[in-house]
Symmetry: C2
Subunit: 317 residues, 2 copies
């Protein structure tokens, strides 16, 4: 079975003249999610945020901004279009659209270049590639508008590839019981005090949303043998640096390779791009200030394998 784990993501901030986005209600967000060809499976709320678990990843809605992450063959770009039509594009203060290079890109309905062209018609903006074209890389499109994020508006994304050891075992297809995953993986306890909503997919896959006030973390696991993949994302506890969270997450999933993406308001003195992790080589280091108000760092790390590997037999091609 082939399932694309790599995600598309949009973070969109609206003018505070609009009614709170949370007041738009579940039906409205259901329609937005449907435009992406995904479905809402469940939701939890905190005093500041509604978190929807989707058939393909997650949607977090605060009063003036939302973050939507979708994987598989979803068309996130269409959800962005439908939302902006509803609120009016002049009410959009910031829009950041991301796509990671995919495992099975030929099965995608669009590629990043097509998405960027579509966005550019509605929201003239800028597109970047973080990393080498022939290697792990991330595409970012952002609205060509100055924006000043608040000082604590930071995001950490950890994208993990080719799980090993316990990480591989816990999330393997044959072990897909939510209780067993919770207990063995410790994904509920990555941070304390969070309300958690999670789902184990049939036959494979696991998603988790967690909320605490305005803070969230989210995890999406695609354990397929042909390319296991996990994404972790949070806005929590980044004022003290990313190392503790990164190490904790890597301990759970034990990937052979991972990317780290950090967004911080510009002109802070963070050195996220300088991160290193014992046992991993760092292959790519990118740092870029974006006009939309953020400094973004992207690093790609891989486990040095000294052994000669055999080729991987493909059984169910």
């Amino acid at each position: 079975m082939i399932f694309e784990g790599s995600e598309k993501k949009v973070e969109l901030v609206v003018s505070d003249h609009l009614p709170p986005l949370r007041s738009f209600g579940k039906n409205f967000w259901e329609e937005v999610v449907e435009k992406a060809e995904a479905k809402i499976l469940s939701s939890i709320s905190s005093e500041a945020c509604d978190a929807y678990l989707l058939s393909e990843s997650s949607l977090f809605v605060w009063d003036t901004y939302f973050t939507m992450i979708t994987c598989g063959r979803t068309t996130l770009i269409n959800a962005v279009g439908a939302f902006s039509e509803h609120v009016g594009r002049d009410n959009i203060q910031s829009l950041i659209f991301e796509r990671k290079n995919e495992y099975f890109p030929r099965h995608q309905k669009t590629d990043f270049y097509e998405d960027a062209r579509q966005l550019n018609k509605i929201f003239p903006g800028k597109a970047f590639r973080f990393g080498q074209a022939d290697d792990h890389h991330l595409f970012i499109y952002h609205l060509g508008k100055d924006y000043a994020p608040s000082a604590d508006d930071c995001t950490l994304e950890i994208l993990m590839y080719d799980l090993q050891g316990g990480g591989k075992e816990v999330f393997a297809c044959e072990n897909q019981a939510v209780d067993s995953i919770r207990e063995k993986a410790g994904v509920h306890a990555i941070f304390e005090g969070f309300k958690v909503d999670d789902f184990a997919f049939d036959p494979c896959g696991y998603s988790l949303n967690a909320l605490n006030g305005k803070d969230y973390y989210t995890i999406h696991v695609t354990p397929e043998e042909q390319g296991s993949y996990v994404s972790f994302e949070t806005n929590y506890n980044l004022a003290g640096g990313i190392e503790n969270t990164l190490n904790r997450v890597l301990e759970v999933f034990q990937p052979n390779a991972f990317d780290v993406i950090v967004f911080r308001p510009k002109n802070q003195t963070w050195q996220d791009h300088a991160v290193t992790v014992a046992g991993y080589n760092k292959k790519t280091t990118v740092k870029q200030a974006l006009q939309c108000g953020y400094d973004v760092s992207y690093t790609y790390h891989y486990k040095k394998v000294e052994d000669i590997q055999g080729a991987v037999p493909l059984e169910d091609f």
Copy 2:
């Protein structure tokens, strides 16, 4: 402009009861090439081989085997189907089909899995992935039939990414005059004594076929800014190891990363997988004996960049 440099390749050996493949004539091969949605541009011959330069790469025809390499959006798999229908599948002794992971895979008409399924219907066989799914990798499908290649039946493929320095400059779009490329790049002189046929494409790209008796080398350059790529392949001079040829080719193209693929008849004592090149890190080392009679090594090397890079602005998305 987006052009896919990464190639598909087939090497196919027929029974020696058939008439010599070269006697099938240019019209026959033209039809085979057309099935792949490519065209013959020119040809040269030696006493043992006809070499066709194609609109998308190359075809080499010897009396009992042929090698066809195509890039862009070609459908090499259909050419394989047409050929096998013509000669009868029982007359096929060995078939090896390769695909490198692509830069723009969504623009491909099939992916490797689809190609392998199609092949498997006609020629039950085996499929392998050399390298990690999330990283540089090569797919190989081969016929599930024992085959004993002759002792000198060796092939070296060097796939090069992200040209730098002189390699970048000589092949840049604005410098696409064949004479200037020949003179500056020294591609005619990689080995001595070869007859050469080459072509500079408009607006970009360069292809070269070279023949000497039964030996060949071929070069295909895709200099596009969004992902420059060069492939080099030869069956020449491999009895003395691959190092000299590899270093010579790398000197011309100066890539930021490259893959080396070596096919040798099984049970020889070569250690091609142990190759290292000064200035490059080796990330992946794969060695695999295939039932079809070859030992295959695949290694992926990249230039260690110590600097922090900026993101690459995408201008013409």
